[in-house]
C-alpha cells in the first residue's frame, strides 16, 4: 500500500497535499516531506468527457476530491472507475507529473 507523499510545515506542523511555498497557517517557508497513510474517501467525483487542451485524448477520465485519513483534502484522478461515489474508499497509487492517482480500495 503506497504511502501518500504529503508536505509538512517545519515550523507549525500544518500538513499539505499539494506542494506549497509558504505556510498558510504560520507563513513559514520551510517544509519537509512527510508520508501519510494513502487510504482515503471520495468526497465528490466527476467524469471529464470534454477535456481541456492539455488532456485531449485521455477522455473519459475521472477526477475526484479525496479525503485522506491524515485530514488532507486534495483533488486527484481515479484510475478508470466511473462507478465511485461520495463515501467510497480509495487508495493512493502514485504521483505522476504533479497529479495524484487513486484507485478503488
Amino acid at each position: 500500500m503506497p504511502a501518500f507523499p504529503a508536505t509538512e510545515c517545519a515550523d507549525c506542523g500544518e500538513l499539505y497535499g499539494f506542494p506549497v511555498v509558504a505556510c498558510r497557517a504560520c507563513g513559514s517557508e520551510s517544509f519537509e516531506a512527510h508520508d501519510v497513510d494513502g487510504s482515503g474517501t471520495v468526497y465528490a467525483r466527476t467524469t471529464i468527457r470534454v477535456p481541456g487542451a492539455d488532456h485531449q485524448g485521455q477522455e473519459p477520465f475521472e477526477v475526484c476530491v479525496v479525503d485522506l485519513a491524515a485530514d488532507i483534502r486534495i483533488t486527484a484522478r481515479i484510475l478508470d472507475n466511473p462507478g465511485l461515489s461520495p463515501g467510497d474508499s480509495v487508495q493512493f497509487v502514485e504521483a505522476r507529473d504533479g497529479v495524484f492517482f487513486f484507485e478503488a480500495a
Binding site: Y43, A44, I48, R49, V63
Partner: protein, 385 residues
C-alpha cells in the same frame, strides 16, 4: 462615502458577433454614452473588465484603446481581470472611486470575444482561471468543477437530475423572448436529461454557451445623477470577496463562500435582507451554479435551490424571480462582459421595460462569480428616489 447612481447604459447582443474586443467595447461604451446627457468632457475615468483577449486575440491594453476610440482620450483608464467576474470587479472599482469622491462620472465596461477562437485555444484560455499548478494538472475543467459540486450536492440532498434540469428549462424559456440572448429556443426536461454528458452528472444543456459581447454603464455621484438622466438607478450595496483556489480547498464544496461574503456585505450596506429583493440576475454558468448561488445568496435554504426552480418559485411570475433575462444559460457567457450585462438586464427591470418584466420590480441584485468560486461581486440596485 457618497451615494452612487447608474445614469447610462449600453450593450451589444450576446452571441456570435464576428468582432474583436476593442470594437465590442467601443460599441457598448458609445451606446452607454448616447443613452444619457453625459458629454465626453464630463467623464473622469474608464474601467473595463476583460478576461482572455490577451490569450485569444493577442490584444492587451484595451482600456486605453477603447477610451481613445470613443473620444475619451486622456482620462485615466484601467482593465480589471477576475475571470468571469472581470466586469463585476470593474463596476466595484468604479463605484469605489465615485463613492470616495475621487471621480464624479465614470464609464464602466465589460467585453469579451470568444466564439471565433478554435476550441483548443478557447478551452486553454478558460482553464487559465483555475489554479494551473494544482487542479489544472489533473485535467479538471470548469464543467468538471461543477460536476464535482453537483455530485456532492445530489449526494447530500437527494436532489434528482430532473429537478436540476428545471433550471436550464426555465432560463431557456426566459431567453426565448430576450433579443440580447444567444439561444432563443426553449427546451424540455427530457432535452436536458438526454443531452450528452460533459462532466457527470452535468450534461450539455446544463452548461452555458460561449458568446461575444460588450456591455457598459455610466455611473455618477447621485447628487449629479439628475443632471445626466431622468431615470437614475441607485447602487444601494456593493460587495466583493475572494474565495477558494480549487475544489479541494472547500470544507463544504456546495457553499462557495466568496458569494456568501460578498452578499452579506452588499445586504448590510443596502440595509436589506434577501427576502426584500424583487428580481435577481445570478451567475448561472451551469445549472448547478444557479442552485448553489441562489442558496449562497440567502434566497433559499441549503438543499432547496433546485426544488424551488422545479416548483416555479424562480420563474418570472414566481415569488423569487431568478434570471428573467435567460441568464448565462441563454444569453451566453461572454466572460468579461457578463457582470455588466447582468446589471443592464436588472436596470431594464427597474425601469419597468424588460421583455420578461417582473411586476413592480423596485429592488434588484446581480451576482457575478469567477473561477472556482475564487472571486465574487454582488451589487444591490434600486430605483433612485
Amino acid at each position: 462615502m457618497r451615494d452612487v447612481s447608474i445614469v447610462g447604459m449600453g450593450t451589444t447582443e450576446f452571441g456570435v458577433l464576428d468582432a474583436g474586443v476593442k470594437d465590442l467595447g467601443v460599441r457598448a461604451v458609445s451606446r452607454a454614452l448616447r443613452s444619457c446627457d453625459v458629454s465626453r468632457a464630463d467623464v473622469d475615468a474608464l474601467y473595463l473588465g476583460n478576461f482572455v483577449a490577451g490569450i485569444l486575440e493577442g490584444q492587451e491594453n484595451i482600456a486605453p484603446l477603447v477610451a481613445d476610440s470613443v473620444g475619451l482620450t486622456g482620462i485615466p483608464t484601467m482593465k480589471t481581470e477576475g475571470a468571469c467576474a472581470s466586469s463585476g470587479i470593474a463596476l466595484r472599482q468604479a463605484y469605489q472611486a465615485v463613492a470616495t469622491g475621487v471621480h464624479d462620472v465614470v464609464v464602466v465596461a465589460g467585453v469579451e470575444s470568444m466564439t471565433s477562437a478554435e476550441t483548443t485555444e478557447f478551452t486553454r484560455a478558460l482553464n487559465s482561471a483555475a489554479d494551473t499548478q494544482t487542479e489544472g494538472k489533473t485535467g479538471l475543467t470548469f464543467p468538471g468543477f461543477y460536476g464535482l459540486w453537483l455530485d456532492r450536492y445530489m449526494y447530500e440532498h437527494g436532489t434528482t437530475r430532473e429537478e436540476v434540469a428545471a433550471i436550464p428549462v426555465k432560463n431557456r424559456k426566459n431567453g426565448a423572448t430576450n433579443p440580447r440572448a444567444r439561444f432563443r429556443d426553449p427546451i424540455t426536461i427530457d432535452d436536458v436529461v438526454e443531452s450528452r454528458l460533459v462532466a457527470d452528472p452535468l450534461r450539455l444543456y446544463d452548461c452555458c454557451p460561449a458568446a461575444d459581447g460588450g456591455a457598459a454603464l455610466v455611473i455618477a455621484a447621485s447628487d449629479r445623477a439628475r443632471e445626466l438622466t431622468e431615470t437614475p438607478i441607485q447602487v444601494l450595496g456593493s460587495g466583493h470577496a475572494s474565495g477558494r483556489s480549487g475544489a479541494y480547498r472547500y470544507d463544504d464544496l456546495t457553499t462557495l463562500d466568496a458569494t456568501v461574503t460578498a452578499a452579506t456585505d452588499a445586504y448590510a450596506q443596502a440595509n436589506i435582507s434577501p427576502t426584500d429583493l424583487d428580481v435577481v440576475e445570478l451567475h448561472d454558468c451551469f445549472s448547478a451554479a444557479e442552485i448553489g448561488d441562489s442558496e449562497d445568496l440567502g434566497l433559499f435554504e441549503k438543499g432547496e435551490g433546485a426544488t424551488a426552480a422545479a416548483e416555479g418559485v424562480t420563474a418570472v411570475d414566481g415569488d423569487v424571480p431568478i434570471n428573467p433575462s435567460g441568464g448565462l444559460l441563454s444569453k451566453g457567457h461572454p466572460v468579461g462582459a457578463t457582470g455588466i450585462g447582468q446589471v443592464y438586464e436588472v436596470c431594464l427591470q427597474l425601469f419597468g421595460e424588460h421583455e420578461n418584466q417582473v411586476d413592480g420590480a423596485e429592488l434588484a441584485l446581480t451576482h457575478n462569480l469567477g473561477g472556482s468560486g475564487a472571486v465574487c461581486t454582488v451589487t444591490v440596485l434600486g430605483r433612485d428616489a
